[in-house]
């Protein structure tokens, strides 16, 4: 299991492509959510997706994770076409981490049980070693003393940090974070954003959806504005958030700031 070691070694904008999407299309019935999305994530890069609610940000992450099947287009992950129906989705998902808006922790397991489940059942790590790695990861997110608690006994911010630890512990090549602070009380948002900033500092490759523009400006290498199922504008935060070129982007940003 070399996974934890070679994650995050590349510099931002390194040449190694982790994820590439081209012409990705996804519709739910008559509702076209993604209508030809193209974008690329390099190793160590942090890509922030912005866009109105319902613009397809979450769908895009779920397609990347193969929780949704695309209608057309190609998604390449670490050089493999994962949209090929012959690909084993479970094996692909095991190499990615996905964190949900509502945490989706398993209430019947302890915090440590949540964090070690995938290690034990998917990655075949032995119980004692899984426990050690789980505890180390919980320590990393500042929750080692909560290892034996139930998720329900934790605050929202703590639960979301556990969810991040659960996704991170297997050493994924790519972290997908879907509106991870949207369900939190305002005073709890900070602790989760601080953790994400740390991960970014460690060079974890990630794609995240957020409405936190200040945070996007701070951590993003690339900001992509999603509208009408396509990426309308992308570039550095200074370009896209600071000086948007597209009328749609300006309209969206002014609504958010209002």
């Amino acid at each position: 299991m070399s996974d934890t070691d070679d994650r995050g070694t590349g510099s931002p904008h390194g040449d190694v492509k982790v994820l590439e999407m081209s012409g990705v299309r996804k519709a739910f019935g008559p509702n076209v959510v993604l209508n030809g999305v193209d974008f690329t994530v390099s190793r160590g890069e942090c890509v922030v997706l912005i866009g109105a609610s319902g613009s397809g940000k979450s769908t895009l992450l779920r397609c990347a994770n193969l929780l949704e099947t695309v209608d057309d287009g190609v998604i390449t992950f670490e050089g493999d076409d994962i949209t090929d129906p012959r690909v084993n989705g479970d094996e692909v998902r095991a190499r990615m981490g996905l964190v949900f808006q509502a945490y989706n922790l398993f209430p019947h397991l302890t915090v440590l049980g949540n964090v070690t489940l995938a290690l034990r059942k998917v990655h075949g790590v032995e119980a004692t070693e899984a426990e050690q790695r789980g505890l180390a990861m919980l320590d990393r997110v500042g929750l080692a003393e909560k290892a034996r608690s139930r998720p329900d006994d934790l605050s929202g911010g703590q639960q979301q940090r556990v969810a991040i630890a659960r996704a991170l512990v297997t050493g994924p090549r790519l972290m997908l974070l879907d509106e991870v602070t949207s369900a939190l009380d305002p005073e709890l948002v900070g602790e989760v954003l601080d953790l994400l900033s740390d991960l970014k500092g460690e060079g974890v490759t990630m794609v995240l959806n957020t409405h936190e523009m200040g945070f996007a400006r701070e951590v993003a290498d690339t900001v992509c504005f999603l509208h009408d199922g396509v990426i309308h504008e992308s570039g550095t935060p200074a370009q896209v958030i600071g000086d948007p070129q597209q009328e749609r982007t300006r309209a969206f940003l002014s609504r958010i700031r209002a």
Partner: protein, 287 residues
């Protein structure tokens, strides 16, 4: 500085409220006790003063007969307990399989879903007594190699087939009550469909339906007595029947009834206790 709990003295108004509540509680208890005694007295009086009471008393409540019949009926009850335990284990396994079959999604699983649905429809529709008659007498007559021909086996099989249809529906409700986001979280970690079911969905479903299942277990305890109709399994009811046949005194049936109540009441209290405990923990907490 926080005030320590020991520093707190209830105010006069609080003391007055508490004494009012105590008086109120004492009054409620007295009213409930008096009304219960009254109802029991009236009903008891009606029964005892009825013209046929003497006759009923000696046919159903003969103390000497009860003492004579007790050992045989108690031995029979032990058979009921064994039937119940073995059937319960088989019911959990069969019904869980059917519930999983019925909740599997996708066109490939259609035959499984159909099979599960047909099974549940058939065995929920058939009266248990009918299943026991059909299988209890018809099963051994099939003379299938490898299967025992005893009435006990086929009687238990009837209970298992009939109860599994109900219990499968309880499990299915439990499985479906686990929010879809839990499955998504499991799959996102790389768990397969089956692993997600095993480690994420079923443990949560099981906790939620356990009170309902324990209720079905109480019911199974009683229905195990229906095997008596096959005649060759000497359970509590069949034992009482044999005792009764000696002199046409029905007291052994009352003894059997009393023993069944002794068996089910602790089970029912345990179920209540567990359901309350679950309630405090909040079954579906996350979403």
């Amino acid at each position: 500085m926080r005030t320590e709990v020991k520093d707190w003295q209830p105010s006069a108004i609080q003391l007055e409220r508490e004494s009012f509540r105590r008086r109120q509680a004492a009054r409620s208890t007295a009213v409930a006790a008096a009304s219960t005694l009254l109802v029991l007295g009236v009903v008891g009086g009606l029964v005892v003063s009825s013209p046929g009471w003497e006759r009923v008393h000696e046919t159903y409540f003969d103390a000497g007969k009860a003492v004579d019949a007790f050992p045989a009926v108690l031995a029979g009850l032990w058979v009921n307990v064994k039937i119940m335990v073995i059937s319960a284990i088989a019911i959990v396994m069969l019904s869980l399989t059917i519930a999983v079959m019925r909740t599997t999604r996708g066109p490939i699983a259609f035959p499984l879903r159909l099979l599960g649905t047909v099974y549940v429809d058939v065995f929920r529709g058939l009266p248990l007594l009918l299943v026991i008659f059909l299988l209890g007498f018809g099963g051994p007559a099939l003379d299938l190699s490898g299967l025992p021909r005893s009435a006990l086996f086929w009687g238990c099989a009837s209970l298992v087939l009939s109860y599994s249809a109900y219990v499968a529906e309880v499990f299915r409700a439990g499985i479906e009550s686990v929010h879809q986001s839990q499955r998504l979280a499991g799959r996102a970690l790389g768990l397969t469909y089956a692993q997600t079911l095993r480690h994420v969905v079923l443990p949560q479903a099981w906790r939620r339906v356990l009170p309902a299942l324990m209720n079905d277990l109480v019911s199974l305890q009683k229905d195990s007595g229906l095997i008596a109709v096959l005649g060759t399994v000497i359970d509590a009811i069949r034992a009482a029947q044999i005792e009764t046949a000696k002199d046409f005194n029905y007291t052994p049936y009352v003894v059997a009834g009393f023993l069944f109540i002794c068996l089910t009441v602790p089970m029912a209290r345990l179920t209540d206790w567990y359901a309350r405990k679950q309630g405090f923990h909040g079954a579906g907490s996350l979403m």
